[in-house]
């Protein structure tokens, strides 16, 4: 298997993301939890925001799935993607179950209505979601490289740190039980990049898309961490120069 065309690229993307995974804005939350524990309100905000993000993956993957039908990829790629959709729905359900079990919401409808669980357009969460959804027009290996070898690795890193700090056994279990899927997604990403990213231009696109996804994910994590800690959200980035043609 040493002659797989994207092997070096996959290793490069994984190592870069791993090196960044313990320096995300969630480290502030982890430190605060280690120092002061996690009260009910903060736990509600934590689970609620992550649940909202997970729900949005139905929207993102809906767009990506259409691209898979248009392009001609082998069944293995489609199978791995369908597995990833199921996994993401598992995470969404685990968060909702925890919200209900902890009594933060009486019903699913209540969880939707609460500010922690509602989706707002003017948010870093929305920016990240739309950023991922926009990758729908790129070939599947490139967007999988962007997500699975970018934000997924960051997520695994910060979540492992947070789990160590969380004192609540049940809440710890909610995050711990997601590691299996997260590691699987990283392995899926590595496999797809190794096998299907062949041309230098595709490799450059993978690097670019991965960097964009991580930048936008970190922006979401900044907003998320501020929300969990009850702080003012970081200021939005300055608008970029509009490109016209």
């Amino acid at each position: 298997m040493s002659d797989l065309p994207g092997k070096d690229l996959a290793r490069e993307l994984i190592e870069k993301s791993r090196s960044e995974s313990r320096a995300t804005p969630v480290e502030d939350v982890t430190q605060a939890v280690r120092r002061d524990g996690l009260d009910g309100d903060a736990a509600h905000r934590l689970l609620g925001r992550l649940w909202t993000l997970e729900r949005m993956f139905y929207y993102i993957y809906g767009g990506w799935g259409q691209g898979l039908e248009i392009n001609d990829f082998p069944p293995s790629i489609k199978y791995l993607f369908s597995k990833q959709i199921i996994d993401e729905s598992t995470h969404e359900m685990l968060y909702l179950d925890a919200l209900l079990r902890k009594g933060f919401a009486a019903t699913q409808k209540d969880a939707f209505r609460h500010p922690s669980g509602s989706f707002m357009l003017n948010s870093a969460l929305a920016y990240y979601v739309f950023s991922l959804r926009n990758l729908a027009t790129y070939p599947h290996p490139i967007r999988i490289a962007a997500l699975n070898l970018g934000p997924k690795i960051l997520e695994l890193g910060w979540m492992e740190g947070l789990v160590e700090a969380i004192p609540d056994h049940d809440l710890k279990g909610v995050f711990e039980s997601q590691f299996v899927e997260n590691r699987s997604h990283v392995n899926m990403g590595r496999r797809i990049v190794e096998e299907f990213v062949k041309e230098p231009v595709e490799a450059e696109l993978c690097r670019w898309a991965c960097a964009v996804a991580k930048r936008d994910y970190n922006r979401f994590l900044g907003e998320f961490s501020a929300y969990v800690l009850g702080r003012e959200a970081p200021a939005p980035p300055a608008p970029r120069r509009q490109v016209t043609d």
Partner: protein
């Protein structure tokens, strides 16, 4: 009192039971915190035979069964209703 459980030999993990149980706010079906993340039924919350929504939506015949009898019937037979209303 009759109760339901999921037969994991038959269940396809499509999670229709989870979706419908959430939708009607009974919230008895949940995803277990285990590596396999199988769907399970919380007998304390399940209102069977008062509600049979999961049985009606389940596409894999026989994968949701009565704990006591191993039966999987929609609607539940009269004796179950009679037992429930005693």
């Amino acid at each position: 009192m009759p109760a339901l459980r999921i037969d994991h030999e038959r269940c396809t993990e499509c999670r229709m039971c989870y979706i419908v149980c959430r939708e009607i706010d009974i919230n008895a079906v949940y995803v277990a915190l285990e590596p396999l993340h199988r769907t399970e039924i919380d007998m304390q919350k399940c209102t069977y035979p008062g509600c049979t929504a999961c049985l009606m939506y389940c596409p894999a015949d026989g994968s949701i069964v009565e704990v006591q009898t191993g039966r999987s019937l929609v609607p539940p037979p009269p004796e179950v209703w009679q037992e429930a209303t005693k």
